[in-house]
C-alpha cells in the first residue's frame, strides 16, 4: 500500500488516488500530417519500464488535483512528486 504525498493535502493513503498512466507523452505536433504509425506510437506504444516510471496521479477523494509521481515499478518506492508541467526529474 502506497503513502502518497499529495502536493496540496499532504501524505494520504493510495486508495484516495487515481493513477492515469504515463506522464510526458507528447501528442504529435501536427496532427493533420502525422502518419498512422506516429498516431499508434502516441496512443498505444507507451513506456513500460521495469524500473522508474513517471505517472500522472489525481487525488480523486481529496483535492481532485493532478500531479506527477516518479515511482519504481519493482519496489513501488516513490522517488519524486512534482507538479503538472514540470520536467521529468533526474531520479
Amino acid at each position: 500500500m502506497l503513502l502518497i504525498s499529495c502536493p496540496y493535502c499532504g501524505a494520504r493513503d493510495e486508495v484516495e488516488f487515481f493513477c492515469a498512466g504515463e506522464s510526458h507523452v507528447v501528442r504529435p505536433p501536427s496532427p493533420e500530417s502525422a502518419s498512422d504509425a506516429e498516431w499508434a506510437q502516441y496512443l498505444f506504444f507507451h513506456g513500460n519500464p521495469r524500473g522508474v516510471v513517471c505517472e500522472r496521479w489525481r487525488h480523486v477523494l481529496g483535492c481532485n488535483q493532478w500531479f506527477n509521481v516518479a515511482r519504481n515499478t519493482v519496489t513501488h518506492e516513490i522517488l519524486a512528486v512534482y507538479a503538472m508541467g514540470e520536467r521529468r526529474p533526474e531520479v
Binding site: 500500500m1 498505444f44 513500460n48 521495469r50 515499478t73 513501488h76
Partner: protein, 415 residues
C-alpha cells in the same frame, strides 16, 4: 520413460520405486533452430506443437527460473471461450477444444473440469448487454445461454439473490463447457510431451540480450552462455516489454499485478465458476476444497509479483456481497502475477519489428485459458514465418491499422 496409465499406476502401487524424472533438465546447446524464451504454458505448448505439428525438434525453451513459476503458476485456472468478436472466439475456442483433448494428447491428466461458468448481471442494462453477448457467442458457434435469477439460484444455491442487496442480481449467462484445469499439470504435461519429442528445457537461464546480425536477431545471450538460433520466440507475458526493449522496440503493453488468493479448504459447496465483472470478483472451488478467488487488476503498473491490499479488500468485499456465507472463512494464501495488458484486451501473436524475433504476448488477465491455442498458432508462425489464419488478426500491426479487437467487456474482469 513409459506412458502413464492405470496399469503403470498399479505397477507402482505394487512395487514402488522412484519415478523417473518427467523431463530432462537440459544444458543449453550452442545452437538451435528455434529458441523460445519463457518456460510457462505458452512457451512449452509452442515447443510441443513445433515438434509435433511441424517436425521441428531442435528447439529449446529457456526459462529464467523454473518452468511454470510465472503466471502459469499464479492464475486462477479458469478456461472459457465466450468471447464477443469472431476473431477472439476462433482462438479461444481453438484453445478450449484442444484443452478438451489435452489429457489424452499429452498422456498427462490435466484434471479438466468443465463445470460451467456463470457470469452475473447486476442491472437491467447489463442484462441487455448479456443478451447481446449471448447472441454474439452463439453466432460464433460457441455454447452460451442466458440465465434467469431462478436458474442462477438453482445452479448456485448459496448465492445471495436478495433483490434488496446493494448490487442485486438481475440474471446472468452460462458457458457450460467452461471450467477449470490443474495449472501445474498443464505446464508439466506440455514439458514432458515436448521433452519426449526432443525439445530441450533449460531452466535457470535468464536472457540478458539478443545476438544480432545484419538481418536481425539470430540468438540470445543468457546467464548460461550464448545460444544461437534460427528464430527466437518470446512468450514472457508481463516481461514482454523488458525483452522488447533489449531488442530495441516498444510494445503496446503495460504490466500490472493481478492477484489471486485461496481460502482455507471446506467441503464441496460451489460446483460452478462464478464471475461478476461489475463487482470485480470471480470464484471457484478447487478439488482440495479451497475457494480460488480472483479480482481486478491492481491500479498502477507493477513488476513486483505481489498484490496490493486495497485491491484485495475490494475483491473480498465483492465476494461477501455475493456469498455472505463465506464471511468466516480465512484466506490462506495470496499472490500476484505480472500480466501484460493491451489496450484492446486482446493478445499479440506474430512478427515483431525485428527480423528473426517473434511475439506471443498481451494475454493480459486471461493467458491460462489460451495456452493450447496460443502455442498452436505461435508454433505455426515460428515454423512457417507466416501467421496462422486464426492468429493473423492479432498481429502487432493492428495498432497502426486501427483494427483493434476490443474485447474489454468479454475479457471478464476489468482492465
Amino acid at each position: 520413460m513409459g506412458n502413464y496409465s492405470a496399469l503403470s499406476l498399479l505397477r507402482h502401487a505394487i512395487a514402488p520405486r522412484p519415478l523417473p524424472p518427467a523431463w530432462r533438465n537440459a544444458d543449453p546447446k550452442p545452437r538451435y533452430d528455434i529458441v523460445i524464451v519463457g518456460g510457462g504454458g505458452h512457451g512449452l505448448a509452442t515447443a510441443y506443437y513445433l515438434a509435433k505439428n511441424h517436425g521441428i525438434r531442435n528447439v529449446a525453451v529457456v526459462e529464467k527460473g523454473w518452468i511454470g513459476g510465472g503466471n502459469s503458476g499464479r492464475n486462477t485456472t479458469v478456461i472459457r471461450s465466450n468471447y464477443v468478436y469472431p476473431e477472439s472466439a476462433a482462438i479461444y475456442e481453438l484453445s478450449l477444444r484442444l484443452y478438451e483433448g489435452l489429457s489424452r494428447d499429452l498422456n498427462f491428466n490435466i484434471m479438466l473440469s468443465q463445470r460451467g461458468l456463470v457470469s452475473l448481471a447486476h442491472s437491467r442494462h447489463e442484462l441487455d448487454l448479456f443478451r447481446n453477448w449471448v447472441n454474439c457467442v452463439q453466432l460464433n458457434g460457441v455454447d452460451a445461454r442466458l440465465l434467469t435469477v431462478e436458474q442462477i439460484r438453482s445452479l448456485v444455491p448459496i448465492i445471495n439473490v436478495c433483490p434488496r442487496s446493494a448490487t442485486p442480481i438481475y440474471g446472468g449467462l452460462e458457458q457450460k463447457r467452461a471450467g477449470v484445469a490443474r495449472h501445474d499439470a498443464v505446464v508439466w504435461g506440455y514439458a514432458r510431451a515436448a521433452d519426449r519429442l526432443g525439445v530441450d528445457i533449460v531452466q535457470n537461464c535468464e536472457v540478458t540480450g539478443f545476438v544480432r546480425d545484419d538481418t536481425g536477431v539470430c540468438g540470445v545471450h543468457t546467464t548460461r552462455g550464448t545460444i544461437r538460433a534460427g528464430k527466437v520466440g518470446l512468450a514472457v507475458a508481463g516481461h514482454s516489454s523488458v525483452l522488447a526493449e533489449m531488442a530495441g522496440f516498444r510494445l503496446p503493453v503495460r504490466s500490472y499485478a493481478l492477484q489471486a488468493f485461496v481460502s482455507e479448504p471446506v467441503k464441496p459447496l460451489l460446483d460452478k465458476v462464478v464471475l461478476s465483472g461489475t463487482l470485480g470478483v470471480y470464484v471457484s472451488q478447487s478439488d482440495k476444497g479451497e475457494l480460488v478467488i480472483g479480482g481486478g487488476l491492481d491500479h498502477y503498473q507493477s513488476y513486483a509479483q505481489r498484490g496490493n491490499i486495497g485491491t484485495l479488500e475490494d475483491t473480498v468485499a465483492a465476494l461477501l456481497e455475493l456469498f455472505p456465507c463465506f464471511s468466516r472463512l480465512r484466506l490462506l494464501r495470496q499472490w500476484a502475477g505480472t500480466v501484460d495488458v493491451v489496450r484492446d484486451s486482446s493478445p499479440i501473436i506474430g512478427r515483431s519489428p525485428v527480423a528473426g524475433l517473434y511475439l506471443n504476448c498481451g494475454w493480459g488477465t486471461g493467458g491460462f485459458k489460451a495456452i493450447p491455442g496460443g502455442g498452436w498458432t505461435f508454433a505455426h508462425t515460428l515454423a512457417t514465418g507466416e501467421p496462422h489464419p486464426v492468429a493473423a488478426p492479432f498481429a502487432l500491426s493492428r495498432f497502426e491499422r486501427g483494427a483493434l479487437i476490443d474485447e474489454a467487456a468479454a475479457a471478464g474482469i476489468a482492465h
